[in-house]
């Protein structure tokens, strides 16, 4: 037994040394702050040099009754429910389209990916101008096609969140398109040939060959988009500052307000822990369901 372990230890050594730098960075910049924040959530730390007091679960009980927090949670769920399907659908369609186009593929790929690498602030400002309800081009076009009272977008508490979702989808779909495109291009040709021999048409080929082969990639994209949708902050901050009213106040934005505007860092840390738990639960559910619909 002992000699077996010694032999294995030697073979693990080079691998461990290789990942050690990355792991140390991960530990310092991600793991330690995570633990620190978790501990902070049980205190009333106010961000200043005053010693924090341990207050147990007070922050968490306050959270459940805080209507502002609950509204931001609700807004975030609406955001996720709209953002995830729209982004995945757009990314998938773009990937399929790009897969069929040979000549312009490189340029189109760049064009679709471009919003993802553009600065969020400039995007927010530019789209803010586009969404101007009176003089902006979007409503101009809507009126031209006959919609008499187009939504007032960022000036309306009903439509502001939708406007933000649209901008976020536009910005992000390029990134997931690249991932899905790689996935599609990795599907072996012989599967399609076999399907065609069996008499499947293009659409059936898509349903029974492309989608199942793509399901691991789709799964990854689903997990990533959901996690991403709970982290939206800069778009909200620049476009609407949480308004009008509280209609675009999402979770991370609320955490920011409590931590850096109201100086209730302990409370904000509790909110962050709740966010972490939500994402973890959703991811766990997804990994459970993975066995059901992801085919390898």
């Amino acid at each position: 037994m002992t000699s077996h372990r010694l032999r294995n230890y030697k073979s693990y050594l080079p691998g461990t040394l290789f990942i050690l730098p990355a792991f140390v960075l991960f530990a310092i910049f991600i793991f330690v702050p995570l633990i620190y924040g978790f501990v902070m959530s049980f205190t009333d730390y106010g961000g200043f040099n005053v010693a924090p007091n341990f207050i147990g679960l007070d922050n968490y009980t306050k959270l459940l009754q805080d209507d502002y927090f609950l509204i931001s949670l609700k807004n975030n769920f609406i955001y996720t429910l709209l953002f995830v399907p729209l982004t995945m659908l757009l990314a998938l369609l773009a990937a399929i389209a790009l897969n069929h186009v040979l000549h312009l593929r490189k340029y189109l790929r760049m064009a679709f990916y471009f919003p993802y690498i553009t600065s969020m602030v400039s995007i927010a400002i530019a789209w803010g101008l586009l969404f101007n309800p009176v003089s902006g081009p979007i409503n101009y076009i809507l009126k031209a096609v006959g919609i008499a009272n187009p939504p007032e977008w960022l000036m309306s508490s009903k439509w502001a969140l939708v406007a933000i979702i649209l901008v976020a989808v536009w910005k992000s779909f390029g990134y997931y398109m690249i991932i899905l495109l790689a996935g599609i291009q990795g599907i072996p040709e012989h599967l399609y040939e076999a399907a065609e021999l069996d008499g499947a048409n293009k659409f059936q080929q898509f349903l029974y060959v492309t989608l199942p082969s793509l399901s691991p990639t789709l799964f990854m994209v689903l997990v990533l988009t959901i996690i991403n949708s709970f982290q939206v902050f800069d778009l909200v901050s620049v476009m609407t500052d949480g308004g009008p009213g509280r209609s675009t106040n999402v979770l991370v934005f609320r955490i920011y307000q409590e931590a850096f505007v109201n100086y209730r860092m302990g409370y904000a840390a509790a909110m962050s822990t709740v966010l972490f738990l939500i994402i973890m639960v959703i991811s766990l559910i997804q990994f459970r369901l993975e066995k059901k619909w992801v085919t390898y």
Binding site: V134, E152, G243
Partner: protein
């Protein structure tokens, strides 16, 4: 001048359309404090918020009904630079704080604009006799208790906040905290605007009450005010929602 008279005057001064449009007045979107209510002695922390509701209705009149001021929606949607509007000559009357004086003078000296302007005291609610304006406390001076020269520092603080220091500050066209004939004279000489003497002749009511949660109360007030000025709810609903939210803020 009363707010009623101001509104009428602004309406009569509004003319033109499109690029030739001249607005009677400009009331910036970030002026959240309910000026008229504050002048009457009501703050957003009071139990009876009727004056605040009335003020909201008044704003609705300025922005939308009379059309004498650029609408709230337009200011927000286009992120209008308030001072450029005034400097371009599109606006007849501008309601703002005393720092505007310095900004305008600096811009005139830099050649960015050549407008001719003067100042008048803030309009008053009906029935108010003495001039009263709304002010925030903005500049503070403090002494670090760990410093070695606290006595000297205190002497300096006394100087800066006294008449002599006030006169020196006034010579840079900055409104001093110390109000007296000497500082008023220094200020008038520095600014060259006759109307700037009005600052020294009014009482000031504080814009933000010194309670710890005033920032949060301001924020929830501004949220409801936004919804009202975006015409999504009437002033009664706005005040009601505000009172509910204010209660949960103050209960923390």
């Amino acid at each position: 001048m009363t707010w009623e008279q101001y509104a009428e005057l602004a309406k009569s001064l509004t003319k033109g359309e499109g690029t030739e449009k001249q607005w009677g007045g400009y009331y910036a979107d970030w002026l959240t404090a309910p000026l008229g209510a504050l002048q009457e002695g009501t703050t957003i922390l009071d139990d009876n918020l009727d004056p605040v509701g009335n003020w909201l209705d008044y704003l609705d009149r300025l922005y939308y009904k009379d059309g004498s001021h650029m609408s709230y929606k337009q200011m927000k949607a286009e992120s209008i630079d308030w001072i450029k509007q005034f400097e371009s000559g599109n606006v007849a009357m501008l309601i703002n704080g005393e720092w505007t004086l310095n900004m305008l003078k600096a811009d005139i000296e830099a050649g960015k604009t050549d407008i001719d302007f003067d100042m008048a005291p803030l309009p008053l609610p009906e029935g108010t006799k003495d001039p009263i304006t709304v002010g925030g406390v903005s500049t503070f001076i403090g002494i670090n208790p760990k410093s070695e020269h606290t006595d000297a520092a205190f002497k300096f603080v006394q100087f800066v906040t006294g008449e002599q220091g006030g006169a020196l500050i006034a010579e840079s066209s900055v409104l001093p905290a110390y109000s007296s004939d000497k500082t008023k004279e220094a200020f008038l000489n520095a600014t060259g605007i006759q109307g700037s003497g009005y600052f020294f002749e009014t009482n000031t009511v504080v814009e933000n009450q010194p309670v710890p949660q005033i920032d949060e109360v301001n924020r929830v007030y501004s949220e409801q005010r936004d919804l009202f000025l975006f015409q999504e709810q009437d002033s009664a609903a706005a005040i009601q929602n505000f009172m509910k939210n204010r209660q949960s803020v103050l209960n923390r």
